[in-house]
């Protein structure tokens, strides 16, 4: 069997209503997985659902809920069967100098990028909904991993928290051969980048593009790394934050 295949694997993808999460759902379905997508926006989640490849013996589900609502998360989790893979792709950014930070903003960015996902995984583990040999994939970023772009302090802090969690969980879950890794991408062309464009202006973003020897990434470019991490091809990979950045990091 192709070691990169996701056939007969059941995979949960959060943040699937847009951006990278949506494309991961589509690519994972093409690789043969049974997909459960969740997200906050019902209409956009349905659009993702329509993108899923429907092969023989493949079964997909969609669940609309907000990760930040803990009681709902618990209720939803009880209905799930066990998973062979989990992808936490939800996230949000805020661009402003650190000195303007309010406690509400700090809480909101941490909730969206770290707390909601950490608590959901905690509940999945506690409820024993994760199969032996499963793969868990978080989204970090080059920000908070190897660089610190001005104006992204809270986002980078949340991504740094992801990196720490991944290392410890990789150790704690190794007994069941469960792998835990993070993908740390550079700039990918998504709605989040559009938000960047509005704040920092098109001109500056175009200048930033020149820092990338291979240009900005497409969601697919990141999704393929995620497929690898979800597949049996990556059984020896755990506790890592893997940078994928079109060469940004080596361009000095």
């Amino acid at each position: 069997m192709n070691p990169f295949s996701l056939e007969r694997k059941k995979i949960l993808i959060t943040g699937a209503s847009s951006g990278i999460g949506r494309i991961i759902a589509a690519e994972a379905s093409l690789a043969g997985a049974n997909i459960v997508i969740c997200g906050r926006n019902s209409k956009r989640l349905s659009e993702t659902f329509d993108l899923l490849h429907q092969g023989d013996n493949q079964h997909h589900e969609k669940v609309i809920f907000d990760l930040s609502d803990e009681s709902v998360t618990l209720e939803v989790i009880q209905q799930f069967n066990d998973f062979d893979g989990i992808v936490f792709a939800a996230g949000s950014d805020l661009i402003q100098p650190f000195s303007f930070t309010t406690s509400q903003q700090l809480k909101a960015i941490m909730d969206d990028n770290f707390t909601g996902q950490a608590l959901m995984l905690q509940k999945l583990i506690k409820a024993k909904k994760i199969n032996s040999g499963a793969s868990i994939v978080f989204f970090s970023s080059v920000n908070g991993t190897s660089i610190g772009s001005k104006g992204h302090s809270l986002y980078a802090a949340a991504k740094g928290a992801i990196n720490g969690l991944v290392r410890v969980l990789a150790n704690e879950l190794s007994k069941k051969k469960v792998r835990v890794n993070a993908i740390a991408p550079g700039m990918v062309e998504t709605g989040l980048m559009k938000m960047n464009e509005e704040v920092v202006s098109k001109e500056l973003l175009e200048a930033h593009r020149k820092d990338y020897p291979l240009g900005f990434g497409r969601p697919e470019d990141v999704a393929y790394l995620c497929i690898y991490l979800l597949s049996g091809a990556s059984v020896w990979m755990t506790g890592q934050s893997i940078t994928i950045d079109g060469g940004l990091g080596i361009n000095r």
């Binding site: 000195s99 104006g151 704040v199 202006s201 098109k202």
Partner: protein
Amino acid sequence: MNIEEFIKHLAEQFDEINPAEVLPVTKFKELDGWDSMVAISLIAMVDAEYGVKLTGDEIRNAQYVSELFEIVKSKS
């Protein structure tokens, strides 16, 4: 909102600018220390003080302090 107060807030986003040196006819991107960080500071300041969302393109297209003031005023 008045322009004197706006200039005071704008000057605060620079490290070492005396507000008295900044006039409505000043080209704010020619002030000492202007960079992309000051630009996002301006956006954050305008949001915090006036509840207005200024965009990067609006800053890019404006030259004078008075222009920036008028944009914020028209959106508040």
